[in-house]
Every structure is written in C-alpha cells, then in structure tokens.
C-alpha cells in the first residue's frame, strides 16, 4: 500500500475531511464512554440535548464558542505563515489580565463605548507583546517557537497566580484568589438577557471576516501565506521574511489576547487561574478542524463548544466524567490530521 499525492485536492474532500474526522473521533471515544459504564448513544444524545436542548443551553454553547473563535483565528493566522504559536493559552491570560487591570480603574471613567474599546485594545496589545518575544527569537536567532511559546504558557500561568494573589488581588473578594473586577459599565452588553451570551460573539464573527479578508485579499496576507508555504521562494521574491513573521506574530498574539479580554469583560468580570478551560490549546484544534480557513473557524469553534457544554450536561445526567470532552476534542485533532492526509493523498495498492 502506498500513498500518492492527489494532483489537486478536491473541494468535496476538503469540506468532508473535518466532518469525517469528527465522526471518527466520536466513534473512537464511544469505547471510552462504554468503559465508564455508560451507553455511548445515550451519552451523545445527552450531549446534544445539553448543548442545544434549550434556549439557555444554546446561548451557553455560543458563549463558549466566542473565545474559541478568537483563539482559533490566532492559531490560523500564525499557522498559515508557519509560525507555530502554541502559546495561545498564555496570550489569552495576559490579555485577560490587562483587560481586568485597566478596566477596573484606569479606563473606568471613559464613556462606555470608548472604555470597552480600550479594554479590548489593552488585551490585544498584551497578547501581541507576549508573542513578539518568541517570534523575535525565531527570526533573529532561529530559536524554535514551538518550545518557547509552549513554555511561556506555564510562566504566564504562574504570573497570573501571583497577580491574583498579590498586586491585582480583589480586596473585596473575601480572600479568594481573583483579580480586581472590570468596572460594571465596561462589561460587554448581553446579546440575550439573563444568559452568559454577550456581544463578544458578534465581535468574534466580525473578526473572522476581517482575518479572511486580510489573508485572502491583502498584500500582507499574500506575503504571510507565501512565507508559510515556501520561505525560500518568498525570500527570493522579495518578501521581507522577518518583518512579515513579526507582523503575523502581532496579529496572532493580539487575537488570542482579545479572546482573553472579551472573556473577562463579557462573562466573568475578573481573572482567576481557571478562567480558561484550555481555550488557547483548543484554539489549535479549532484551527486545524477548520483547515486553517478563517470562516471555517467559526463552525469548528461551535463544534468544540458543543462538546464542552454537552459533556457537562452528560456528566450531570449520566455520571460519565466530564473530561471525556477533552478526550473527544484531542482525538478529533488526531483524526483531523489523518483526514487531511487522505484529502491530500490517495491510497494505491
């Protein structure tokens, strides 16, 4: 058995790949659910009900999808240029921290629209700066950014722990390790009253459109794609590689930082060390499931959100552990990689 490259990957295959991957992942995980003593079909039905069964559950799923769209876009932009940003989680947290810090006092006096904008920009700047350091080390000294961005996540987590226990600790929180809250008037307006769904979803969707525009239609996007597809040819054609990669790092880091800022200003109001259930890492899965297509990211983010929200409901109803959600998401990344292989190559006997 051998693999042969398909001359041109067909559109059907490209679109079908993520769905096949998700299906395969659900089939594979059925075994694990059965091991936990639960009928997999019941479990999946319960998950769907938990994610879509009521108005509330739908808003909850979409609220979960919001940060995933942004971290998914962060990974998409970076991966397209072959900048392996595995640090979305860290950028998410520094974005969240910057939003809480500035949103609690410094920006609180501004008119709300301006203040909210300020909070989001603060998050974006923080995320961008955090990714600029490893990106600079990569373009200047050839330091592997997979390692540096991944390890930065752990440093950031410790830093967040320090801040919410120390300088940014909320004095009114009865000693809980949480940061000062974003001022009430700077919280993002809700999309649906008395739910957790806020206008961040619209911001995330609009951002997906902008990222698509940037990658597909601008000079910078073409250069970033060229740098990712063939650095040698891009350099030969006069693409300023270092500048392009640093630009990509700024955008990617800013998107993940924005996710953190929006999560703080949209849902929780303050930062804790468990603000993110791995949004930064799941963003990588979202980006891969979307085939690194910005508009596909929105769909893939909803899928991952369904798994997370649905697994909670399933766990409450049937008693299977919630971390099956992490397993499904992780396995779907693996099955997606296999699906991509078969979309690009075909098997010859």
């Amino acid at each position: 058995m051998r693999l042969e490259r398909r001359p041109q990957p067909s559109l059907t295959m490209t679109v079908a790949a993520p769905f096949a991957a998700v299906l395969a992942s659900l089939v594979l995980c059925a075994g694990l659910i059965a091991l936990a003593g639960v009928n997999p079909l019941d479990a999946y039905a319960e998950m769907l009900r938990g994610a879509f069964g009521s108005r509330l559950s739908i808003t909850e799923t979409l609220a979960r999808a919001t940060p995933l769209i942004l971290t998914g876009l962060a990974a998409t932009v970076a991966f397209r240029a072959r900048l392996w940003n595995i640090g979305g989680e860290g950028q998410f947290y520094v974005g969240a921290l910057a939003a809480a810090w500035l949103g609690s006092e410094a920006l609180a006096g501004l008119p709300p629209a301006l203040g909210i904008l300020g909070v989001m920009i603060a998050g974006m700047i923080a995320g961008a700066l955090l990714l600029l350091v490893p990106a600079f080390l990569r373009v200047r000294f050839g330091v592997d950014e997979v390692v540096t961005t991944l390890l930065t996540n752990f440093i950031v987590m410790l830093f967040v722990g320090m801040m919410v226990e120390g300088p940014l600790k909320d004095p009114l929180a009865f000693g809980w390790p949480q940061s000062v809250p974003v001022a009430n008037e700077l919280m993002l307006p809700k999309l649906v009253e008395r739910t957790r769904l806020h206008i961040g979803l619209l911001i995330a969707l609009a951002t997906a459109g902008l990222v698509w525009l940037m990658l597909a239609r601008t000079v910078f996007g073409a250069r970033a794609r060229a740098a990712g597809l063939s650095a040698g040819a891009a350099e030969f054609a006069g693409v300023p590689l270092a500048r392009t990669l640093l630009g990509v790092a700024v955008i990617s880091g800013a998107l993940a930082g924005l996710a953190g800022a929006i999560e703080v200003a949209g849902v929780k109001g303050y930062v804790t060390t468990d603000l993110s259930p791995g949004y930064g890492y799941s963003g990588i899965v979202v980006a891969m499931l979307a085939g690194l297509q910005p508009l596909g990211v929105a769909v893939a983010a909803v899928f991952v959100a369904v798994v997370f929200v649905g697994a909670d409901a399933m766990s409450r109803a049937l008693g299977a552990p919630t971390f099956i959600a992490d397993v499904i998401v992780a396995v779907s990344l693996l099955t997606m990689l296999v699906a991509l292989l078969f979309a690009t190559y075909r098997v010859r006997k």
């Binding site: 001359p7 601008t218 073409a222 597809l229 040698g232 891009a234 030969f236 006997k349």
Partner: protein, 510 residues
C-alpha cells in the same frame, strides 16, 4: 541468450493520465540500455514500476525469467535489481558505512557487524573503482561522492541489474564522464544497467542501445552505434528542434561591474576577489563545476548576500547593498537555481506567483489590497506571451512541468524589460524543447539590450549563448575570454583551474 530483465506490456494510469502505455523492453546481460525521453514521457514511472514502488495496471516484469511480484521493492532487491534515485535517499547525519548497511542487516541482530561490512564495502569500492571513505559523514560529501554511495548501496545488496534515474542531473561534465567510465567497468564485471536520461550526448557516449519513450509509449528502439544525436532528438520530441543561434552584436555600456568582490562566511572565502563586467546587449557566461561558488554568486547578485569586501555596482547604484525587493525595483531580472525552492511557491496560483515580486506596486495593489483582476489579467498575458502550457491564471504552480514553470519565471522577469538578467542554471533538468525556448528568450532579451549574466555548468549552453566566458573555480573567477577563442577543450581546462595567469611583462624587452 535470455534477457536478464524484461518489461512486458506495462500500462500505468494515474486517474485520467496514462503515464505508460503498453511499454515493453528487455535488457541483455552486460548491456547498458539508455531510456531516453523528455520530462514527463514516463521514464521515471516505468522504473518505479520495475522497482516495485508503483503497481502496474497491466503487464509483467520478469527478472532472470521469473515474474516479479508487483508493488514490493524488497522483492525487486532480492531479485537483484538496484535503483539509484535522482534525488538521493541517504541519511546525511549517518556515515557512508551506516547508510550502506542500514536495512541490509536483520533487525534481530543487536550489534551491527561493522567489521565484515567494512571489508565488503572496501572490496566493492576497489573492484568497481568507486572510491569513498566509509567513515565520512554523508552530509559532508560532494554530490558526486553521494552518488557513489548510492551505487555502492545497491551493489552491497548484490544488485545484478542497476537502474540509474537521471544520474548526471547533479553532476558536472568531468564527473559525469567519470561516472560513465565506472559504469562501463561495471558491465565488464557482469552487471547490466539501465540509465534514464534526456541528454543526447551522454546517451550517445555511454549506452549500447537506446529505447526512446514519448508520451508514455515506446517511440523507437535503436542500437547506439546505428543512430545519431539529431535522430534521437527528433524521435524524443516528435518533431525537429534546434537550439537558437547567437548572432554577433556589438555590446553597449557596462551595466553591472564587480570589482574585487569577496564574500566570506564562517571564515571561508566563498567568493574570492571576483571581477567581472556585464555590458548591455551582452551575455557573460560564468562556467564551472557545481559547488565552486556559483550559489554564492547567485545569492549575492539577487540581494540575499552582501559582499564582505569589494564593490558590486549596477550602473551608478550599489547592487551589493540591495535587498531582493530593491533588485526587482531596480530592473534586475532574476532566474534562480532551484525553481521549486526559490522560483515559485508551488501551492500558490500562477497569478500569485507571477505578481509576488511586485505585489506592492500600484499595478497590482491599492492601499494594501491586491488588485486580483489586474493580477490575473497580467498572468493571462504572461501565459500567452511566453507560451506557458497547461496553465491558467488560477492553476497551482506546482502542477506546471519544469519547462513551463521556468517559462513562468522567465516571463515575470522579462516582461518588465530588465536592465540586467541574472540566470543561474536556467535550463537544468529541462528537456530539449524547453531548453530551446529558454535560450531563445535569453537571446531575445540580449537583443533588446539587456545585460545577461549566465551562470551554468552546461558547457554547450555557455558556448552557445555567451559572448564572453569566465570560469569559476573555488570562488575565484578567471579573466574573460571572448566566445570566438573558446572551445570545449579550453573551457574544460579553465573549469579545472588552469587559466592563463597574467604574465608580468619583462621590463626593457623592447
């Protein structure tokens, strides 16, 4: 006498494409058979079927009379077939000995039996005249040496039939001649050989018999002694082709002047005090064996490396300080050595590749947004003007054949009417038809007044195109000689480093 190898009615289809159709050929004991054909004629596919990489849709392969089970390279190896691929399959971080024994030892053995393996390797390399140091790291070897390792690898596995896929694609002429001598010696030792080529002169020089493939079918079979290069060319292409001829033309003003340019990297002078001048309407040929500083010269001239010392001028500007983007803006047309790695981004479309160099110019973008319809129209124009076949503006560049990819690269440079053209190995790996087209374009650019610097390993190419010729050896350039005084012998000597040093004029002689 039964043939050692027979291919009988081989047909192989890839989707709609028929790569081989009803191909039959046989190889006799101790014979050198050349498989001649243009790129895409199906030569490599055929050999991959023989070696078990692909499975034929129809037909049979017989080795020493016994049918070979299809699709199993190991069966081919066991039957005594060895293959030397065009792109070597060696691990650069291992030694020669490790590369050769890897896969030939049973996995169950804990320790490698290096002693006997080393003895056998020595014996083989003495017997066939393939000298290599068994303990050298393959990554440190020259291309010619790596090829010897590949051949030894096949011999170590007791190959009786050796298949060489474009063995001279990476070799300079002296190395190629040496290789063919070696191959001749191997047939005397009882081996039988097939080599794949699209170069007529080496087929004529090195084979006993020629099978010509055209569009996947056997177009003809000839005894080498009973055919001629022009006949084979016609059989291969299916029509008459002739390389265009350079016509004398007075050169214009100097366009690019290098004075004592040195490039030092890691303590080594990759380019050592190089002097040359290219005039408008002139082709200056720089000829040399691969790995003598051509790559550095190329990188220097298209803005990827800066001179350590010396001056490189483009008119009144300093070419030495330019980036690739500056070069494009200054009217320097650049044809890179490696089409796939530097020339095009394979996964991008033809129109994106056609415009990537000048994407930020007002012609192709406005306020940071790409003017897609303008870019597509430009690409369509290039496709028409430069006869780029099999291409639409939205075709992925990867799908173009080598020759058409090169026409795309030429086109995007020549369409701008460049002042200076730097072409590094512009016809490497191209078939005759494409070579003629590339040569015609370069000569047309010269006729239009461009200064052309042609870096090439191909003697015939340099002799056919260049007005003046310099040789490059170990980063040093010879003084130029006019084309009229050049012949293959003199250039060959220059490429070996034997050029006339300036004789100090004896004072008071007259």
């Amino acid at each position: 006498m039964t043939p050692v190898l027979e291919l009988d009615g081989i047909t192989k289809r890839f989707g709609a494409l028929t790569a081989n159709e009803d191909v039959s050929l046989s190889l006799g004991q101790g014979e050198i058979l050349a498989l001649l054909g243009e790129n895409g004629a199906g030569k490599t596919t055929l050999m991959n079927i023989l070696f078990g990489h692909y499975t034929a849709d129809e037909g049979e392969v017989r080795v020493f009379g016994a049918p070979l089970p299809s699709g199993r390279p190991r069966a081919a190896i066991e039957a005594g077939v060895g293959m030397v691929h065009q792109h070597f399959t060696l691990a650069g971080n291992l030694t020669v000995l490790e590369n050769i024994t890897i896969g030939a030892e049973p996995l169950s053995r804990l320790m490698s039996a290096t002693g006997p393996a080393r003895r056998r390797l020595r014996e083989l390399s003495d017997r066939f005249g393939l000298a290599v140091d068994p303990d050298a790291r393959v990554g440190d070897l020259s291309v010619g040496e790596r090829q010897r390792v590949e051949i030894l690898k096949a011999l170590y596995r007791e190959a009786k039939i050796l298949i060489l896929d474009e063995p001279t694609a990476v070799l300079a002429r002296p190395e190629a001649e040496r290789l063919f001598q070696t191959l001749r010696g191997m047939t005397a030792e009882g081996l039988s050989l097939i080599f794949i080529s699209h170069k007529l002169h080496e087929v004529m020089a090195a084979s006993d018999r020629v099978v010509v493939l055209r569009r996947g079918r056997v177009a003809a079979e000839r005894r080498t002694s009973e055919t001629s290069a022009p006949e084979l060319a016609e059989l291969m292409v299916g029509r008459r082709v002739a390389r265009p001829v350079r016509e004398a033309q007075p050169p214009g003003a100097p366009v690019c002047i290098a004075s004592a340019v040195t490039v030092t990297e890691g303590g080594r002078d990759l380019l050592d005090e190089a002097d040359f001048t290219v005039h408008a309407g002139e082709i200056l040929g720089i000829v040399g064996v691969a790995g003598n500083g051509q790559a550095t010269l190329g990188r220097l001239l298209w803005g990827l490396t800066r001179p350590t010392r010396g001056r490189l001028a483009l008119g009144t500007e300093d070419l030495g300080r330019m980036t690739p983007a500056d070069c494009v803006a200054a009217g320097v047309g650049r044809i890179p050595e490696d089409r796939h790695a530097e020339g095009v981004v394979g996964e991008m479309t033809v129109w994106e590749n056609a415009t990537l160099e000048r994407l930020s110019s007002p012609a192709f973008s406005r306020r940071g947004f790409v003017r897609r319809s303008a870019a597509r129209a430009y690409a369509a124009d290039l496709i028409r003007r430069f006869d780029i076949r099999g291409a639409e503006p939205d075709t992925r560049a990867r799908l173009l054949s080598g020759g058409n990819m090169q026409k795309l690269i030429l086109g995007r440079n020549l369409a701008q009417g460049p002042r200076l053209i730097l072409a590094n190995q512009p016809t490497r790996g191209l078939d005759e038809g494409a070579v003629a087209a590339v040569h015609a374009e370069l000569l047309a650019a010269r006729g239009a007044g461009a200064a052309v610097l042609l870096i090439s390993e191909d003697l015939d190419e340099v002799l056919g195109l260049a007005d003046r010729i310099q040789a490059i050896v170990k980063g040093r350039l010879s003084r130029p000689i006019p084309a009229e005084q050049a012949d293959a012998r003199r250039i060959g000597l220059m490429m070996a480093g034997a050029w006339d040093e300036p004789v100090p004029s004896s004072a008071g002689a007259s």
